[in-house]
């Protein structure tokens, strides 16, 4: 029984266009022109309890809109969603206490007070007992390495510390379903690692379900087995992370080190040239021709070293978005 389920979930907005200049302003005042934008188009999704699912797509693909529909912040214009057995938009308190939404670009901590005060307030709101409160703060803060930061005014914290505090606030009531929208936005590598480790540990311990968006592929590869890719509001791919490569890149990468440089034209006969750096050449070769091509390379050229790899996931995803495949 999936804990997050979406059927034909859609959202379209009406926006008013305004032309620049005085004339445009006047027209805007008296006769607005509206345009419909389909932010999300008929998305179907089913996520089982305990899964960590990566939610990918370029800016404006509709990721945040989908997350907001699943948390009940936005009413879908069509379709149905069920999360933890509730219809999100009813926003029943019993539902709200089971979920949490973390947005990397929006905060709920009180700016001029230490984070501990915001935490106490959330504890009262979500009815976390004092005993649980102390225990959870202890544990979560240690995991996030911010035990000594909780008593400083939030405005004095660094971006990374602030984000960790946001996570702490969001998880204080032990939600079963977590929606993370760019939780590592703008963080340095160390902080990113801590946050990732934290999310992994939390979900393991609480069998929590996570839907995660991020622009850092490292977040996705570290945490998610399964990814959902959307593009221009529509579902592009839903399956294993590794499956993306097979599905969308019929290529593999061959990296060759030569004894001496070889003409570009000659290299191009083997496959698409990814890069040439002196004697080091990277080629993209179709999967079916891989064996034959490798053999030919070894026969024809003065090869010192040869390795075969999948192209990096960033590259795959990047191509995917550019070309906008419809699967």
């Amino acid at each position: 029984m999936p804990i997050i389920e979406a059927q034909q979930l859609s959202k379209s907005y009406r926006v008013a266009d305004k032309q620049p200049g005085i004339g445009g302003t006047l027209r805007h005042l008296f006769r607005r022109q509206y345009r419909h934008i389909d932010a999300v188009r008929e998305i179907n999704l089913a996520i089982e309890p305990g899964e960590i699912v990566g939610f990918l797509g370029p800016n404006g693909a509709g990721k945040t809109t989908t997350l907001k529909m699943l948390t009940g912040l936005i009413h879908p214009s069509a379709g149905r969603a069920t999360v933890a057995g509730f219809t999100p938009f009813d926003r029943k308190p019993a539902f709200l206490r089971q979920i949490s939404l973390v947005m990397g670009n929006k905060q709920q901590l009180i700016w001029d007070l230490p984070a501990i005060d915001s935490l106490r307030m959330n504890a009262a709101v979500y009815n976390v007992t004092n005993h649980d409160f102390k225990q959870r703060i202890d544990k979560l803060a240690t995991m996030l390495e911010i035990t000594d930061k909780l008593n400083q005014p939030v405005r004095k914290l660094s971006l990374g510390e602030r984000m960790k505090c946001e996570l702490l606030v969001a998880l204080l009531h032990h939600p079963r379903v977590l929606f993370l929208d760019e939780p590592t936005l703008g963080l340095d590598i160390n902080a990113q690692n801590t946050v990732r480790q934290f999310i992994r540990t939390y979900t393991q311990e609480h069998q929590a379900t996570v839907l995660l968006t991020s622009h850092y592929m490292a977040d996705i590869t570290a945490l998610c087995e399964r990814v959902v890719v959307i593009h221009k509001g529509g579902l592009l791919y839903d399956g294993l992370l590794d499956g993306i490569k097979q599905r969308f890149t019929p290529y593999r990468e061959i990296c060759v080190e030569l004894e001496q440089p070889v003409e570009r034209e000659q290299l191009a006969t083997y496959g698409e040239i990814e890069s040439i750096d002196g004697r080091r050449v990277t080629l993209l070769i179709e999967r079916e021709k891989l064996t034959a091509c490798t053999a030919r390379l070894l026969d024809d050229l003065p090869v010192v070293d040869l390795s075969i790899a999948d192209p990096p996931i960033e590259q795959v995803i990047g191509r995917l978005f550019e070309e906008g495949h419809t699967a």
Binding site: I22, H28, L29
Partner: protein, 261 residues
């Protein structure tokens, strides 16, 4: 010349930005009319049982109300929008962008924004002043308005300087973003002639928060009842406070740039 061009550009941009909000102008006009009506109603309450507020006949006191309304409109149009911006800049740390501009910062911060909301007040104020002047005993000659205009300008300079100097304080005290609002509220005292207040108040409103120079003195000038030392004092006061605001801003800026490195 360059600054004049800049000023026109600033105002053009501000006005263009305002047209986005169609209801604003109607609202502010309504706002001004109700406020003025309320002020006149309150003033009339003092003229019961033969009482004259501070010894000022009804129409003379009405001139004070009119001048206050003009000053209020001036402040809404030129001063308040800029003050709001300055506190925002300081709070968000974007003041740095202004400091990097090859333009005098005080000029930039004082004239960058313009709001049309104050215009109804200015018009109503002028109307009431002229109406009251015509019904004074004896009615005012047109030259009286011209002469009266000088201390009004001085009052505006004074108002600007004090407001800017107070706004400068936000460089150090970033949380004091309502400091000019507090000043604005105290200025309400200028709706009435200074002689209507008890002695202690008069001292405060002359020397500490010089409201007397903003409305009462210009009204007295128009009515031909001003003593020249006061008039000269008003001019000196205005110029000194302008110079002070300039110096104070420079001082604040030095401490700002040395602190935030």
């Amino acid at each position: 010349m360059r600054y004049l061009k800049l000023l026109l550009t600033f105002w053009h941009v501000s006005v263009a930005a305002e047209t986005e909000y169609r209801s604003n102008f109607v609202m502010s006009a309504l706002n001004s009319m109700v406020t003025l009506a309320g002020a006149i109603f309150t003033l009339s309450l003092f003229y019961q049982n033969g009482h004259q507020l501070g010894g000022w006949p009804w129409h003379d006191a009405l001139i004070v109300v009119g001048l206050f309304t003009i000053l209020d409109g001036f402040s809404q149009t030129f001063l308040t929008p800029n003050r709001t911006r300055v506190t925002e800049l300081v709070r968000q740390g974007t003041l740095d962008f202004v400091l990097l501009k090859p333009v005098d910062t005080q000029f930039w911060l004082s004239f960058r924004a313009l709001s049309l909301w104050g215009i109804p007040n200015i018009l109503l104020g002028i109307g009431i002043t002229i109406y009251a002047g015509m019904h004074c005993e004896p009615p005012l000659h047109w030259t009286a308005y011209v002469i009266g205009f000088i201390p009004v300008i001085l009052g505006m300079i004074l108002l600007y300087s004090i407001g800017f100097a107070l706004g400068t304080l936000t460089i150090w005290f970033t949380k004091l973003f309502n400091i000019t609002m507090a000043m604005q509220a105290m200025l309400e005292a200028g709706r009435f002639p200074i002689s209507a207040y008890p002695n202690a108040y008069r001292v405060i409103f002359t020397f500490i928060l010089p409201i007397a120079f903003m409305t009462t003195l210009p009204a007295q000038t128009m009515l031909g009842r001003v003593e020249w030392p006061w008039f000269a004092g008003s001019a000196i006061f205005a110029i000194c406070s302008l110079a002070f605001s300039r110096w104070f801003w420079g001082y604040a800026l030095r401490s700002y740039t040395s602190a935030s490195s």
